[in-house]
Amino acid sequence: MTTTYWVDKFVDAKGQTCPMPVLMLAKAFKELAPGQILAISATDPGSKADVSAWAEKTGNTLLELVEEAGVFTFYLKKA
């Protein structure tokens, strides 16, 4: 990873199966203020597509997805 983000909230969804990663993400995002950044780590293989689709649908920005040793870490910015 080349970019460093100031993360306002981190959600650990590792080991959680579908639909928990998006559920935890949606829940955590409700508490964020616009412009704040959230990072979420997940191991569910569906989360890669799910989190991207969620960000697109909800109008929030997926800043970056870092994939490392089976762990997907998403950096998202609240619209």
Partner: protein, 164 residues
């Protein structure tokens, strides 16, 4: 006389058509689910669909009927280990793997869906009468007892309707 029905209902059928003659498109950002099954495997599937839809910003309308309503009797979900009869041989594997992989229960999924979205759960009055049940006999996650017409009205313009 069966032959007379199409003529009698003609006006109502026409009202569903737009001037171009096609069906009115579904307009509401809502997932409607008829939950007929009471086996844990199907309840889990339904709960995941509902949670996913809620996370994606859709409203969710769930109609519990027959075994689906029975599965929401108070505390029943804590001991419900039933799976679809066709896959009964997978029952122990499923329970084992769900525990090993810390899969959240269908009730937890639905509770989560309610927290993040607009999820409405109604139990079928017909089933309630059949099994002498009242709303108080069901888990508090169930919002009300309604008839089929209320559900159909809410499902009418839903973007998706599933029968599980």
């Amino acid at each position: 006389m069966y032959g007379e029905f199409p003529l009698e209902g003609q006006g109502q059928v026409d009202s569903l058509l737009d001037p171009a003659g096609s069906m009115k498109p579904a307009t509401a950002n809502r997932l409607a689910i008829v939950l007929f099954s009471g086996t844990m495997d199907k309840l889990l599937s339904a709960s995941i669909m509902a949670t996913g839809a809620a996370a994606m910003g859709m409203d969710v309308e769930i109609f519990l009927t027959n075994w689906g309503a029975l599965a929401f009797r108070k505390d029943d979900y804590k001991t419900n280990k039933r799976v679809s009869a066709d896959f009964a041989d997978y029952q122990s594997v499923l329970m084992e793997q769900m525990a090993a992989k810390h899969v959240t229960s269908w009730m937890e999924n639905l509770e989560g869906a309610k927290e993040i979205g607009n999820v409405h759960i109604a139990a079928c009055s017909h089933t309630m009468t059949l099994f002498d049940l009242r709303l108080d006999d069901l888990e508090p996650i169930v919002d009300e007892v309604t008839g089929v017409a209320a559900f159909v009205e809410r499902a009418r313009d839903s973007a998706m309707t599933l029968y599980i």
